[in-house]
């Protein structure tokens, strides 16, 4: 049985929720659990707007439970800790990403891959152990098991760090797992949105030579000058594509729209790796011999485990990696969603929760 939070909890909270598949967000009062023994409670200060928030508020994946409070790129300051909490103390800067629970006993959990645990609990829109549906970070307060909170180093700004908790780990984890993190390797990044622009920054910080592959020639200057890419390839320009055949060791493909794989496979050297992070609505067409000739592979990846998420945050702190963001007020969120749908943001909206979320009457 799914139960409403108010049936289970008494801790008052408020945020903005979508009430139906129109996806329109409006103020919403709800309840969270009391701080448990292993829980940290924190005041939410900033929350990034991920593209999956947009899918979820409109029920585009068919699994949304309303009212739905989105947000899984959450940062804030600890206000209360449970008696068994070891990693955090009141006043600490913390972050929560895409998940707030997992079974802690399966092979994946044992290997610090909670993100692939079959019983993983998403930060919002999923039934928690107590039967209540989880609510995300477009809200004033979060209560989470400390295992699913990460510590944010002092030199990272909270607002520009929030998106690292989803977009950042989504690109960092496959760069490591597929071995595209070695200095001197040539890595392509397809799509220059929230994920793509961070992929460029992380790949550069790992010492690779980065080529941005985009349909928009207008992004060239930005990619090279602002993001630090080494080169830029217009994916619709046959001459440029032809000249770049067989030059890349790996490609991080962040595009969710339907697009052909063949040109991307062609850009790879022998033994090259194409990592797909977006999920288009339809299957790709795959000419198998393009994998066989040159022993290429296509792999996927989904966010990362908690240990690796902390490692990513620490790496970002060490290399001064920040998301390029547009900070907005809470009441701008519906406009921001419309703009996000059109790709009109460089590169991530972040809601200034701490200063702009006001309790509703």
């Amino acid at each position: 049985m799914t139960r409403l939070p108010e049936e289970v909890h008494s801790n008052k909270a408020f945020g903005w929720a979508a009430k139906d598949s129109s996806g329109v967000l409006s103020p919403f009062n709800f309840f969270t659990r009391e701080t448990g023994e292993k829980d940290v409670t924190f005041k939410v200060l900033y929350c990034g707007i991920c593209h999956s928030d947009l899918h979820m508020v409109k029920n585009e994946w068919g699994n949304s439970i309303y009212p739905l409070v989105p947000g899984h790129e959450i940062v804030g300051e600890v206000t209360e800790i449970g008696c068994k909490v070891q990693k955090f103390k009141v006043g600490d800067r913390v972050g929560v990403g895409c998940m707030v629970g997992s079974c802690h006993s399966c092979d994946n959990c044992m290997n610090n891959l909670e993100n692939y645990c079959p019983k993983m609990i998403f930060t919002y829109g999923t039934k928690y152990y107590d039967g209540a549906v989880t609510h995300g970070g477009y809200s004033n307060i979060m209560v989470v098991d400390e295992h699913f909170a990460v510590s944010i180093p002092e030199n990272l700004p909270l607002d520009a760090t929030a998106p690292l908790l989803c977009a950042g780990i989504t690109v960092y984890s496959p760069l490591r797992f597929y071995g595209l993190d070695k200095p001197g390797l040539r890595v392509g990044v397809v799509g220059l949105g929230g994920l793509g622009h961070l992929a460029v920054k992380f790949a550069k910080a790992m010492g690779t030579n980065v080529t941005v592959i985009s349909t928009s020639p207008s992004k060239q200057k930005e990619a090279l000058e602002n993001l630090g890419a080494d080169s830029f390839l217009v994916s619709r320009d046959q001459d440029q594509l032809q000249a770049a055949i067989g030059t890349l060791d790996g490609i991080i493909d962040t595009v969710s729209a339907q697009h052909p794989l063949l040109p991307l496979l062609g850009l790879l050297k022998s033994h090259g790796k194409l990592v797909i992070l977006g999920i288009p609505g339809k299957p790709f067409e795959l000419q198998v011999f393009r994998l066989i000739q040159g022993r290429k592979l296509i792999g996927g990846s989904m966010i990362g485990g908690m240990k690796e998420t902390q490692e990513m945050i620490n790496f970002a702190a060490e290399h001064n990696i920040k998301t390029d963001i547009e900070v907005i007020a809470m009441d701008y969120v519906n406009t921001a969603m419309d703009r996000l749908l059109k790709g009109d943001v460089k590169y991530r909206f972040v809601i200034d929760i701490g200063n702009t979320l006001r309790p509703s009457s």
Partner: protein
């Protein structure tokens, strides 16, 4: 420009060739080069019949240069060695697989991955840099640079060992490269033909739990009792496929027919690996969801380099792995091709070249 054999080559040779895309093979006289300083000449004793021979004969891939003498699973004995040849002596039992040349200088060649060299020279239906043409093993003899000649370990039979030179290395190499050899892990082998049946045997030799995945329920007993698979899964039985979801660490997909990948990807655990080595003639549908949600990968692989091919032969000899073969005479080859097209062979035809090929 391609020069005629007569202009460049001196040694008379004899084999069977297809002269057009009917694919019908018939006796054919041609020439091979004299044995050069780095060359080894083999008297061919056996040659396996690979499915790609059939594709090339019929020009299915659109790049057949007739006449075509097929055959790239060649075994025999050395009859001549050039003065620079250090690896072989006259009388040695040797084999030649899918390639007979490469640039020797590129990154791939330097890493013993001649099979991925952009200038790879295939054993047949190919041209050498000097314009001369290469003919395969459905013939009495062949001249090959020693780098591309393999040594047959003493206990590896020349007839049932011949198919390892293509089918064997095609499945062995990806198992090594993609890390599919950890004892106790669960390997699925999709398709039980020439490649698949060797994959089952090699998988068992690595200590894996092996499940044969096939659309033919009648292959169950054979897969388990004769090939040594631990279990058998009928790929078009939805109930059985469902109960096997998320149970496999690796899958080698040897199926050349167009087939859905989603059911195979579903059989894999998180971090599972699907390697395709079959060559469907149309694109397959690749669903992205299981790749992303379970960090799975789909990869390809194309035979193996010379060093690894020798390692594979030694491994097979050590573990007594050979192909299951049906030995035929050269004059039966056209019938064999018809049967191969219908998958009516368990599991590889091998031509008894020395005992049946005559002018």
């Amino acid at each position: 420009m391609a020069k005629s054999a007569e202009e460049e080559n001196q040694q008379k040779a004899f084999g069977w060739a297809a002269t057009d895309n009917s694919g019908i093979l018939s006796p054919f006289n041609f020439f091979r080069r004299e044995n050069g300083d780095d060359d080894v000449t083999l008297k061919i004793l056996y040659c396996g019949v690979c499915h790609s021979d059939l594709h090339t004969l019929r020009n299915d891939w659109g790049f057949s240069f007739y006449p075509v003498v097929p055959g790239h699973e060649i075994s025999g004995v050395v009859t001549k060695v050039g003065k620079n040849v250090t690896k072989f002596n006259i009388g040695d039992r040797v084999g030649v697989g899918v390639l007979v040349g490469s640039c020797k200088t590129c990154e791939c060649c330097e890493q013993d991955l001649e099979n991925y060299c952009p200038r790879i020279i295939f054993t047949y239906n190919s041209y050498n840099p000097d314009g001369t043409k290469n003919y395969g093993g459905y013939s009495d003899m062949i001249v090959v640079d020693q780098r591309y000649v393999l040594r047959f370990p003493d206990n590896l039979p020349l007839d049932a060992g011949a198919p390892l030179l293509c089918a064997g290395i095609t499945v062995y190499s990806p198992m090594k490269y993609y890390g599919m050899t950890e004892a106790g892990k669960h390997l699925g082998v999709a398709g039980l033909g020439g490649l698949g049946h060797v994959a089952v045997k090699i998988g068992k030799a690595f200590g894996l739990k092996v499940t044969a995945i096939s659309s033919s329920p009648q292959k169950e007993s054979e897969a388990i009792n004769r090939l040594g698979a631990d279990s058998f899964l009928v790929s078009n039985d939805p109930e059985k496929m469902k109960s096997a979801i998320g149970t496999m660490d690796y899958i080698i997909d040897t199926v050349s027919a167009v087939h859905p990948l989603l059911p195979l990807l579903s059989l894999l655990k998180v971090n599972g690996k699907l390697v395709t080595v079959g060559l469907p003639n149309k694109p397959l549908e690749l669903p992205v969801f299981p790749l992303v949600m379970g960090r799975k990968l789909i990869g390809g692989s194309d035979v193996g380099g010379m060093k690894e091919t020798q390692e594979m032969l030694d491994f097979c000899a050590k573990h007594n792995i050979t192909a299951d073969i049906e030995l035929i005479r050269i004059e039966e080859i056209n019938t064999a091709m018809e049967r191969l097209a219908k998958s009516d062979v368990r599991y590889r035809f091998v031509i008894d070249v020395a005992n049946s090929l005559s002018q």
